[in-house]
């Protein structure tokens, strides 16, 4: 069974905190992605990575950074959380030749 695992299902953080969202995949996929999902806006790409230590900005990278030190792990970092970053965050991975596999999602609330 293919698996993309996100470390937390639900998180509540305070404004200004530094937040780490972790994602691990066990399929040896080269590509990994971070999306956020908001009502009426669908899935929007924040950052993606096509190799270890490589990263590319997606459509909405502002306020976020990422880290990929190992092939199986892709971390999303909110440098200073703000209330407009309250959202569902989804990690995904693929090989480039198949559909993407998604994690269960992390519902982040910034208060």
């Amino acid at each position: 069974d293919v698996k993309v695992t996100q470390s937390s299902r639900y998180l509540v953080k305070r404004t200004g905190e530094k937040v780490f969202l972790e994602c691990v995949q066990d399929m040896d996929h080269e590509n990994m992605f971070w999306y956020r999902q908001d009502p009426g806006l669908g899935l929007r790409l924040i950052y993606f990575s096509y190799d270890v230590k490589m990263k590319e900005k997606g459509d909405i990278p502002e306020g976020y950074s990422v880290s990929r030190e190992k092939k199986e792990r892709f971390s999303l970092i909110l440098e200073s959380a703000s209330t407009n970053q309250t959202s569902m965050y989804l990690c995904a991975s693929d090989t480039g030749n198949t559909e993407a596999f998604f994690g269960q999602g992390t519902r982040l609330t910034v208060v």
Partner: protein, 111 residues
């Protein structure tokens, strides 16, 4: 700029009838199209896909149709079942392997 559009935010269908979900795209360079299904508080799961060289792909109750000249694809579910109630995302993939998602259509199948 939304490259993939799902103009119907919601759809209600009687159990046993056909559900038709529509999706339009703007970029003629897209060569792979996918549908994902998403339940609340879960990550999207892959449902069905179609390559740009085909105009139809069928998998059980699910059929995807692609009209390249109109830049339009649709997902047909026959017969619809209550368990099909979910949000459906259309996605397109270009040769750079980046996914573009629509905003989603929430399907409710009424028993």
């Amino acid at each position: 700029d939304q490259q993939v559009k799902q103009n119907s935010p919601s759809l209600s269908v009687q159990e046993g009838r056909i559900s038709i979900l529509n999706c339009d795209y703007t970029n003629s360079m897209f060569d792979y199209f996918l549908w994902y299904k998403k339940y609340p508080a879960e990550g999207p799961t892959f449902l069905i896909s179609i390559s740009s060289i085909k105009d139809k792909n069928e998998d059980g109750r699910f059929t995807v149709f692609l009209n390249k000249s109109a830049k339009h694809l649709s997902l047909h579910i026959v017969p619809s079942q209550p368990g099909d109630s979910a949000v459906y995302f259309c996605a397109s993939q270009n040769t750079g392997n980046q996914f573009y998602f629509g905003t989603g259509t929430s399907l409710t199948v009424i028993p």
